[in-house]
């Protein structure tokens, strides 16, 4: 049956993706939930929670708030929290509760701005989609709201869009990406949302080129190209050394790579630089058509993955080790490529 998971947990939801983008930007983020969604994000999907503080709060909605649609009470609580914290902006993030009661987020945004005097953005996530869609919305809203001024372009500078711990399974991802890009000639790199604050989003028009490192960054990069003429490139990300070592001796193999699309594409490119192989990329998350190759496909069901793997079509699978739970009868080689949004596991 569709939408039934028997061996896997649900993957990181859209609201986790949105929060992940906002985490380091110095705003006040309100998750419009009763507490459980926030607990899952803070306790699980946000590995920075235990090392780096961020003003992420639950709206603490109760049944009567939802039934009566008490937006005024929500905004009152938001104003109170904003007055007690040092924040530059506020964000309201959706969950299944506002989705069911059809909350008017545009109205909430206006009310929040009026009451706090701070800019506000809203991310209309529902908890039914995956992290990449929430992150995509968050990037786009941030750039639309805060990147308004056309600044002189700085030669050799790059903006990285799409790097979150959920995508890169590494709390040092920003450093790794920066070093990787510096080795390729980029001397002034900003990784939006990891290791940089809101001021860099505001100066986004000053970068020479944007580098999209996950599908969630693509829409924002397209927006910046349209608004400021900033070109972008993709499929350039550092591949963990532990994984690179595993990519030898794959000559002539039929390989399935399961990850977020840009990471999977980058691994594919790396393998094909070394040797010849027949490689397909699959993802549970967004597959952008412009980044797809023939035969790449979207995974939607646990049983679908099980069937594909048990059919014996692939000699090698590269993906998060958690997928082994659904491939007990798979006899090929498995190469681990952690994906935090899937397994909640960071790279060692």
């Amino acid at each position: 049956m569709n939408n039934l998971l028997k061996r896997l947990s649900p993957f990181a939801p859209d609201l986790s993706g949105a929060v992940s983008v906002l985490y380091e930007l110095g705003g006040l983020t309100v998750i419009c939930d009763a507490g459980g969604c926030t607990g899952n994000i803070c306790g699980f999907d946000e590995p920075r929670w235990f090392h780096k503080k961020s003003a992420i709060f639950s709206a603490g909605l109760r049944d009567i708030d939802a039934i009566l649609g008490r937006d005024d009470k929500l905004i009152e609580k938001l104003q109170d929290a904003a007055s007690k914290t040092n924040v530059d902006f506020t964000t309201l993030v959706g969950t299944p509760v506002p989705a069911v009661i059809a909350t008017d987020f545009k109205a909430l945004k206006r009310m929040a701005e009026k009451r706090t005097g701070l800019p506000s953005i809203t991310i209309e996530t529902t908890g039914t989609r995956y992290y990449d869609e929430g992150a995509e919305q968050a990037y786009l809203e941030l750039f639309k709201t805060f990147s308004v001024e056309q600044l002189p372009v700085k030669k050799g500078s790059a903006g990285v869009i799409g790097a979150t711990p959920l995508d890169f399974s590494n709390l040092e991802a920003e450093k790794n990406i920066t070093v990787y890009l510096e080795n390729r000639g980029w001397k002034n790199t900003t990784c939006y949302g990891m290791g940089s604050g809101l001021e860099f989003i505001k100066k986004a028009s000053a970068v020479e080129k944007n580098i999209v490192v996950s599908p969630s960054g693509l829409k924002a990069a397209e927006y910046l190209k349209e608004k400021f003429g900033t070109p972008y490139i993709t499929n350039i990300i550092p591949i963990p050394e532990s994984l690179q070592k595993e990519l030898y001796e794959l000559k002539g193999k039929k390989i399935l790579i399961i990850h977020q699309q840009v990471a999977a594409n980058s691994v594919r490119d790396l393998i094909l630089k070394k040797t010849e192989a027949d490689i397909t990329v699959a993802s549970w998350f967004m597959l952008k058509e412009s980044l797809m190759q023939e035969h790449d496909f979207r995974l939607t069901e646990e049983d679908q993955l099980k069937g594909i793997l048990e059919s014996g079509d692939y000699d090698v699978v590269i993906g998060d080790e958690i997928f082994r739970r659904v491939m007990k009868k798979y006899n090929g080689r498995f190469i681990d490529f952690p994906h935090f949004a899937v397994s909640g596991r960071l790279e060692k």
């Binding site: 049956m1 039934l4 028997k6 993957f11 859209d14 899952n40 803070c42 503080k53 299944p96």
Partner: protein
């Protein structure tokens, strides 16, 4: 800006139970889910939440019918507890959450779940969340339909975070669910149930010995039932001992349906109060308990700890197997100092706050969930020891104990173990908790 809200016990007691400041009421402000709060504020994230608790019936499995965000982490977190193969998910999409069409798919999903299990489950728990709370889903009816379809019991399990401060909070509702399969049975006067926890109380707890000396031969706890048949025998109990207030609703249901009366015993750390409680329990049950030996052992542990660490100043948290205010009151009465309490003040514990106010008026009370806790710093505190995992988060440089392990401390044995553990930790030893 950046001022952490706190109030002294004296100030709070003076305001009175009906005037608890908004900063201490979680429903009146945004909620900060700091790492200190994850187990009790959002038990889905860590600890014993509805999902794990719902699997207390031996041989049960759980189908979570909810949006993906509600089930995130469950299998993965469950892996640590050995429950990961017991969770299944039916993911709701946006149409489901508006129309409720997912409900018609549940019987088929339950059938697939049963087929996917290596051992046939004894019962399938259907866990539903805020969406169904808002849709007004009649999950009892859906479960009856699913049960008829698969031929085994199917029970609802309500993870309605929206109703957390309501008449029937999720952790009370799940306790009712897990005893709801019990059926009326002839009573055995020598049989007693302990209700309240999802893991056993300490093997060393005097309650076992004292009940056995009083003629009770069978003491059952759901977490100690080895199989489904053993669980079903809980209905033969002569009475229930309710060790946690969250089990009141379940106990009332058992009284109504199964005619099992209940007696409530509280977990406390003031040994004179424990003594009084056992005396009253004995009088109500027509039993004379001889608890002097256990009292003396607990007192000895307290004195031993006090002898070495009388100058310690404690920070006491609420991620702990205790009411933080009662535990703090006990510490203060034994002669220790308590500078900070992280807790949720309310009707249940206000009497303790008033007593703390009398003997330690400057003790400061914090709400873990206040947004201002974002800026909490231990530099402003005199505490040099902690009890509780949340207090440990704030006072990470101090020695102390988490005191939140799954086996449950109770009675004198709980007091004895607490002070023995504290003594070890404060003396630089390693606690195996």
């Amino acid at each position: 800006m950046n001022n952490v809200y706190s109030i002294t016990a004296k100030q709070l007691a003076a305001l009175g139970q009906d005037n608890i400041p908004a900063e201490l009421q979680s429903s009146a402000h945004m909620i900060y889910s700091s790492p200190a709060t994850l187990a009790f504020n959002s038990p889905g994230a860590q600890g014993f939440g509805v999902k794990r608790a719902g699997l207390s019936i031996p041989g049960s499995v759980m189908l979570l019918a909810a949006p993906a965000c509600c089930g995130r982490n469950t299998t993965l977190a469950g892996g640590k507890e050995g429950d990961s193969d017991k969770f299944f998910y039916m993911l709701m999409d946006e149409t489901d959450i508006v129309t409720g069409r997912h409900l018609s798919k549940i019987p088929e999903a339950v059938k697939e779940v049963c087929e996917a299990c290596e051992q046939p489950p004894s019962v399938v728990m259907i866990c539903i969340t805020c969406v169904d709370a808002l849709l007004g889903t009649d999950m009892e009816r859906v479960c009856r339909k699913a049960s008829a379809f698969v031929g085994i019991p199917v029970l609802p399990c309500y993870m309605y975070a929206l109703t957390r401060e309501g008449r029937l909070p999720p952790m009370a509702a799940v306790r009712k669910s897990i005893y709801s399969l019990l059926e009326p049975t002839p009573k055995k006067p020598t049989s007693v149930n302990l209700l309240g926890y999802f893991s056993p109380i300490d093997d060393e707890c005097e309650l076992y010995t004292m009940l056995k000396k009083a003629g009770v031969t069978q003491i059952r706890e759901i977490s100690r039932c080895e199989n489904f048949n053993e669980y079903m025998k809980m209905s033969e109990a002569n009475f229930n001992l309710i060790l946690n207030q969250e089990a009141r609703y379940a106990a009332q249901d058992m009284a109504d349906r199964l005619e099992i009366p209940g007696i409530e015993l509280n977990r406390m750390y003031q040994i004179d109060k424990i003594q009084t409680q056992y005396k009253l329990f004995g009088e109500a049950a027509g039993i004379k308990f001889d608890d002097q030996k256990y009292y003396d052992e607990a007192l000895s542990a307290i004195e031993e700890c006090y002898k070495k660490h009388s100058n310690r100043i404690f920070a006491v948290g609420e991620w702990v197997n205790a009411d933080p205010f009662e535990l703090s009151l006990a510490l203060i009465r034994y002669g220790f100092s308590v500078s900070d309490i992280y807790g949720t003040a309310g009707e249940i514990n206000f009497a303790y706050i008033k007593k703390i106010s009398d003997i330690s008026p400057e003790t400061r009370i914090y709400s873990n969930l206040s947004p201002t806790m974002l800026y909490h710093s231990a530099e402003n505190s005199d505490a040099d020891a902690f009890i509780g995992q949340d207090a440990a988060y704030y006072h990470s440089e101090c020695p102390g104990i988490y005191w939140n392990e799954e086996r449950q401390p109770f009675g004198y044995s709980g007091v004895k173990r607490l002070f023995t553990s504290l003594n070890t930790a404060l003396s630089g030893g390693i606690i195996n908790e």
